[in-house]
Symmetry: C2
Subunit: 205 residues, 2 copies
């Protein structure tokens, strides 16, 4: 049921803005705005200012394409990170996921998308030119394809592999196998099969 | 899992603002902000400006307490509405719910809360003084108690009844019974019992 008549134009506008967000309908948007209205006026203003600053000042790292406050993001600029090792991910959420493992000491290349013909996204839409430049400059020794294990991810992996296979760069991808903590009987047969094919030497302790 | 390190302070601030909203955790907030960042910069700014305007300019109707752009809200100001009939509701969502029925031609009194000792909300927190004034002035002939059928709602109904029962005003409450379209066998026994006690004359056709 659409809300038919708002008692206030300002309220309606705010609800409209929230309801444009993914997964938020008009009723949820109204709930959020009414919650905001219970806060101090200065806090609502701060929310508004934060969004305006976001619009004005956010930049994307010129090397990896990650969201950043500076021209070169903190990861690319860090001397502790290995610039010769590049993890190729779809978006910034994946950067955060990889960073949270504390197992990766290289840099990133954020594609911004994966190839998906049904959504009209082709190879030209991927952020790869800067990576190609870095590979041609001999700066990169290995790229790790860290895309989701979906049809689109696999397609994109294959495209990147074809594009860079004749360059002097090692191309690897994430290991696939049973998830840690998962029970064998509930693991799907494709994953289980792959984990048998790609079995690794056992290290006790 | 909390997000440990944001690549951008601006991003972190925006995620923090969204994650203060009810039902929105840090991960959802990040999804929303990243969605916003895919929009045009001017649209993000407009969102921010809308919130600032909301903080600056929203007012509450001096008669009914509803959210409004003007000192007297559109419903209270309308000559087509019956000022002698007042529907007492908890909040503005309930105003919208009643309005959407197109069955009510009176005005409202928005309490802003219901009595809930566990949340520290007592009778003094209810917006009732203006209604009392209107009743004393002889302006109101009937108040309809339209609160949720919960312990808190019933308590509040009873409090309002006690407060106004000696004034020359008729006090009614919403009819309770089986919901239209509901099957009898799935109706709870308390509601069904009430709907038998309060049965109404049958009007064919």
């Amino acid at each position: 049921m659409a809300i038919q008549q708002f008692p206030s134009k300002l309220l309606e506008e705010a609800v409209f803005e929230f309801s444009k967000l993914p997964g938020i309908g008009e009723k949820t948007a109204l709930r959020l705005v009414l919650h905001l209205l219970k806060q101090e006026s200065v806090d609502i203003k701060k929310f508004g200012q934060t969004l305006q600053k976001l619009a004005d000042d956010i930049v994307y790292c010129r090397q990896c394409g990650n969201i950043s406050d500076t021209e070169l993001c903190g990861i690319c600029a860090s001397e502790k990170r290995d610039n010769a090792l590049v993890c190729v991910v779809e978006n910034i959420r994946d950067v955060l996921a990889v960073e949270s493992t504390h197992q990766f000491n290289g840099t990133f290349n954020v594609l911004g998308a994966v190839i998906s013909p049904i959504d009209g996204i082709g190879p030209a839409d991927l952020n790869l030119s800067k990576l190609e430049e870095r590979i041609k400059d001999g700066e990169v020794q290995e790229i790790i394809l860290a895309l989701s294990s979906t049809l689109e991810g696999d397609t994109t992996n294959f495209y990147i592999y074809k594009r860079f296979k004749n360059f002097p760069v090692k191309i690897t991808s994430l290991a696939k196998g049973i998830a840690i903590g998962n029970e064998l009987e509930y693991t799907d047969e494709i994953t289980l099969g792959q984990s048998i094919v790609n079995r690794t030497p056992f290290h006790p302790g």
